[in-house]
């Protein structure tokens, strides 16, 4: 573990980003897994599948250009079977609303052949030596856990069957399992898992190579709709979240952070604020850490309640040294990008065929300058961490999505051995990429050093919007052509993005040379210019794709219109010529299938009700293929009504259809919310938005009918937290064009006077 204090760069954010995009390599399971079975004091059994000394380099643990750090695999589960038949399954990874706590338990219970009604699920403690990676993100939890969790369940089942066979003196193959019962088929004798647990616990674990997994035709739990295991606690208001942590003698902290990055507090009315009622202490915090764990320089207020801390923080008057502070300006960046758009970028990312010749011989050429803004994550639970220095260590309660990285970093920051850093993982009040960062943990650790007893650092909504790691904005100067046959014959893009270090794109602000449709075309020129940026950026739901899909999938539609072709037919033609890829890359056959399915289910090609328009978009991200059709109308005041969004997706086998549908519904609403009116702007290095009044979320009345369809697939399951989001904005903008003839090339829509 070597989280280091490095010069301030965003390489570690970039590494977290790669992780969020699912670039971490997966270790083969069988060589790494080990298994222990133990008897419980009360007579039950405990099956534990873990990793043996899996090296876990934190993302960012290497210099730029070094091989990507290996993400440890996650064979991580506990199954505890009590003598009364109750089964407790521990979820290693935290639930951020993506439903992993439920779907991971379903996966184990399936291979265990458990009676689901007797299963309870709990959050596992943080311990890398038992659970391996406990990170979540990048729609990777499901694909990375799918095999290990199934093997964990199958191991326990094999032991229970062996115990039953032994007690009856019969051969194992004569036994069958279902709903927590082993049956000896010839005699009809039965024993429940609870009755067998003690005997099973005394048996040696089976050879992993001998385990057989169920064929999918025998699934009874996986593939059925299962509601979240935490629902009852949520609807009754139980304390589940880091925000809800309460401890004896708890103090509360609020920070007044630097008004621009790298500004330093020089002096202030600290003594005066310290005398305010309920205030215990006021002190400055130097900036510390970097990347995802960076604490910004700040003045801290420690008080007896959150309100007292907020009130005192607002009373602070601080003089800041801004000599080294950020002066980032979004308006200047936009002006510069518009100038640059007239040229090609100096950095060529991809050049295929001959775009100039294709433009020269084109039937029609089209140009479009697209832009999208910075975005904040705005998790509804603001950032919060409770930290408590005691007994030579620190104990923390944090909404941490990357505890594997954060914990060793905190140990290093405080000069503690790793085992002296205890982190509890509560349920997380929304992620969307924000909790991959652990800046709030760094801050809380620095505050806790100065407080005798536990202290809860609470971010206000204003803090949350103004000190985020934003989705980076971007600009695309596109030029395309269609030939005399109406085919897309040339594609040129000058991509204008941002860079924190002058050479590599800011996190989330990069474009891969294979980004669709670039791999599908003969004549392509992709160049890039990076504008300087100091504002922090990071992964936001469907990193990179969340921005890139809008210009590219709108522009394909522009070209289809120019060619006077049907958009669906035009899109399908692009895939027809693409080579079949392997692994988790874009698969043209799966792409075509979701496009056809979305077209069929949305009534594509049929008459639209008067005044309405339909728009389609496709995107591939996070191993998921998604096509979406929006049906919209726009009134004279530019009030946009999105009547219906039809979604067709292929994410392989679906573990929990209820959860998968929910993630898609959420992605559509999130996509709409962002495209309607959200943007983060900054001037003089300071973010200008303050609360939901100027950073609006979609409200219930603007929610369309969302019609979700999945391609039935036996392919290995992939995640669904992200890939349904990218096609939404271009589908809606293409629908606006269909309804009104107006092309939207700038987000959010509110800039052109649209309202929801």
């Amino acid at each position: 573990m070597n989280a280091r204090l490095e010069p301030l760069t965003d390489h570690s954010v970039a590494a977290l980003m790669r992780q969020a995009e699912g670039h971490g390599s997966v270790m083969p399971v069988s060589r790494r897994e080990f298994l222990t079975v133990s008897a419980l004091a009360g007579g039950g059994m405990l099956v534990m599948l873990g990793t043996r000394g899996v090296a876990q380099a934190p993302p960012g643990g290497g210099p730029p250009g070094a091989p990507r750090p290996v993400q440890s695999l996650a064979p991580n589960a506990f199954i505890r079977i009590e003598p009364d038949g109750a089964i407790r399954i521990l979820s290693a990874r935290p639930d951020i609303g993506q439903g992993i706590k439920t779907s991971s338990a379903m996966t184990i219970a399936e291979e265990l052949d458990a009676d689901w009604s007797r299963v309870t699920v709990e959050q596992a403690p943080v311990d890398a030596s038992i659970y391996g990676s406990q990170n979540v993100g990048g729609s990777r939890s499901t694909p990375m856990s799918w095999d290990p969790l199934r093997r964990c369940g199958a191991t326990a089942r094999a032991l229970l069957v062996a115990a039953a066979a032994q007690s009856w003196g019969v051969p194992v193959p004569e036994c069958r399992t279902a709903a927590s019962v082993v049956t000896h088929v010839p005699s009809g004798r039965q024993l429940g898992y609870g009755e067998l647990a003690s005997r099973a616990a005394a048996l040696p674990p089976p050879d992993p190579a001998s385990l057989s997994l169920k064929p999918r035709s025998e699934y009874r739990i996986v593939g059925t709709p299962v509601a979240s295991v935490d629902n009852r606690s949520i609807v009754t208001g139980m304390p589940l979240y880091a925000m809800d942590v309460r401890l004896p003698n708890l103090r509360y902290a609020a920070l007044l952070r630097a008004p621009a990055l790298r500004a330093i507090p020089v002096s202030g009315n600290y003594a005066e604020v310290k005398r305010l009622p309920g205030v215990r202490d006021v002190f400055t915090i130097e900036g510390a850490g970097n990347g995802g764990g960076e604490a910004i320089a700040a003045v801290a207020v420690i008080a007896d309640s959150t309100w007292a801390a907020f009130t005192a923080r607002n009373a602070l008057k601080v003089q800041w040294d801004r000599s080294k502070a950020s002066t980032d300006s979004w308006s200047q960046a936009g002006r510069r990008a518009r100038e640059l758009a007239k040229t090609r970028g100096s950095q060529v990312l991809r050049s295929d065929g001959d775009v100039n010749a294709a433009f020269a011989s084109a039937q029609r050429t089209v140009e479009g300058f697209y832009s999208y803004p910075f975005l904040s994550h705005a998790t509804l639970e603001p950032q919060v961490t409770t930290a408590w220095m005691h007994d030579g260590g620190i104990e923390m309660w944090a909404p941490a999505q990357t505890v594997d990285v954060a914990r060793p970093w905190i140990a290093q920051l405080l000069g503690l051995p790793l085992e002296k850093v205890t982190v509890h993982l509560p349920r997380i009040g929304g992620g969307f990429g924000r909790r991959l960062m652990y800046d709030f943990m760094t801050e809380a650790a620095l505050v806790a050093k100065r407080v005798d007893g536990p202290v809860k650092l609470v971010w206000s909504r204003e803090d949350d919007l103004q000190y985020d790691y934003y989705r980076v904005g971007g600009f695309h100067a596109l030029k395309g052509a269609v030939d005399a046959q109406g085919k897309l014959s040339a594609w040129q893009n000058h991509f204008i993005s941002f860079s924190a270090d002058g050479t590599s794109p800011a996190s989330g602000g990069n474009m891969e040379p294979a980004e669709f449709p670039l791999g599908a075309l003969a004549n392509v020129h992709l160049s890039q210019t990076l504008l300087p940026l100091r504002t922090r950026t990071g992964p936001w739901r469907a990193p990179r794709s969340n921005g890139l899909a809008f210009p590219s999938q709108s522009f394909i539609h522009e070209l289809a219109v120019a060619a006077r072709r049907d958009h669906v037919e035009f899109l399908l033609e692009l895939f027809a010529g693409m080579p079949q890829s392997s692994g988790q890359g874009l698969d043209p056959a799966r792409a075509a299938a979701v496009i056809r399915l979305a077209a069929e289910k949305s009534g594509w090609g049929k008459k639209v009700p008067r005044g309405r328009g339909r728009g389609m978009a496709f995107y591939f991200s996070h191993a998921g293929h998604f096509a979406e059709v929006a049906e919209v109308s726009v009134d004279a005041q530019r009030k946009l009504t999105v009547h219906r969004v039809t979604v067709a997706g292929d994410i392989g086998l679906i573990v929990n259809p209820l959860g998968a549908e929910q993630q898609v519904q959420g992605s559509v609403i999130d996509g709409l919310s962002a495209m309607m009116g959200q943007r983060i702007t900054f001037e003089g290095g300071a973010v200008q938005q303050t609360n939901f009044g100027d950073y609006p979320l979609l409200r219930i009345a603007a929610t369309p009918v969302i019609d979700v369809h999945f391609v039935r697939s036996d392919a290995a399951p992939t995640g669904v937290g992200e890939p349904a989001l990218p096609p939404l904005a271009p589908a809606v903008c293409n629908a606006i064009f269909a309804a009104t003839g107006v092309r939207v090339r700038e987000l959010p829509l509110s800039l052109a006077g649209y309202s929801a």
Partner: protein, 158 residues
């Protein structure tokens, strides 16, 4: 000293509080009723919705000191005294409404007030009553479904 009547019980807060302290923070920090959530502190998001004499209200916008003679109901008081869930809570579970779950206490309090006022709400009634509650995860589709379902369950009972 401050006396509050919350979920049918009298609470006495001995600690001297700044008189500007919102009800939200007294519920959470002083009384440990943390089911009522802090989302924005500005009355935009509705995560802190409680009932004041039955009316859905943003507890971050109310001074605790003004609540002395009023009945406050929080999410912890929505189920019956015997622990039986409110029909909306059951519908929320059955329809698997929550994603992250953080806003849902506020959503439920607004929905409960709606059903008391209009036991058979239309979609427009739901839009009007629920428009003050933001859900960052986008559970609105299921919220609407669950409210209709709880209303239908009410119809079957009567």
């Amino acid at each position: 000293m401050l006396r509050l009547k919350i979920n049918g019980r009298e609470h006495v807060i001995e600690q001297t509080l700044d008189e500007s302290t919102p009800l939200l923070w007294v519920l959470r920090d002083q009384l440990g009723l943390v089911g009522t959530k802090f989302g924005c502190g500005g009355g935009f998001c509705g995560a802190c919705t409680v009932h004041i004499n039955g009316a859905p209200t943003r507890s971050c916008q109310l001074r605790a000191a003004d609540m002395a003679d009023l009945e406050v109901t929080t999410i912890e008081g929505l189920a019956g005294p015997d622990g039986r869930l409110h029909p909306l809570q059951q519908a929320w579970i059955d329809h698997d409404v929550p994603q992250c779950g953080y806003c849902q206490a506020g959503q439920l309090m607004s929905a409960a007030a709606l059903l008391r006022e209009k036991p058979q709400p239309s979609d427009a009634d739901i839009d009007a009553a629920m428009s003050g509650n933001l859900c960052r995860c986008g559970t609105y589709t299921r919220i609407r479904k669950a409210i209709h379902s709880a209303a239908a369950a009410g119809r079957r009972r009567t």
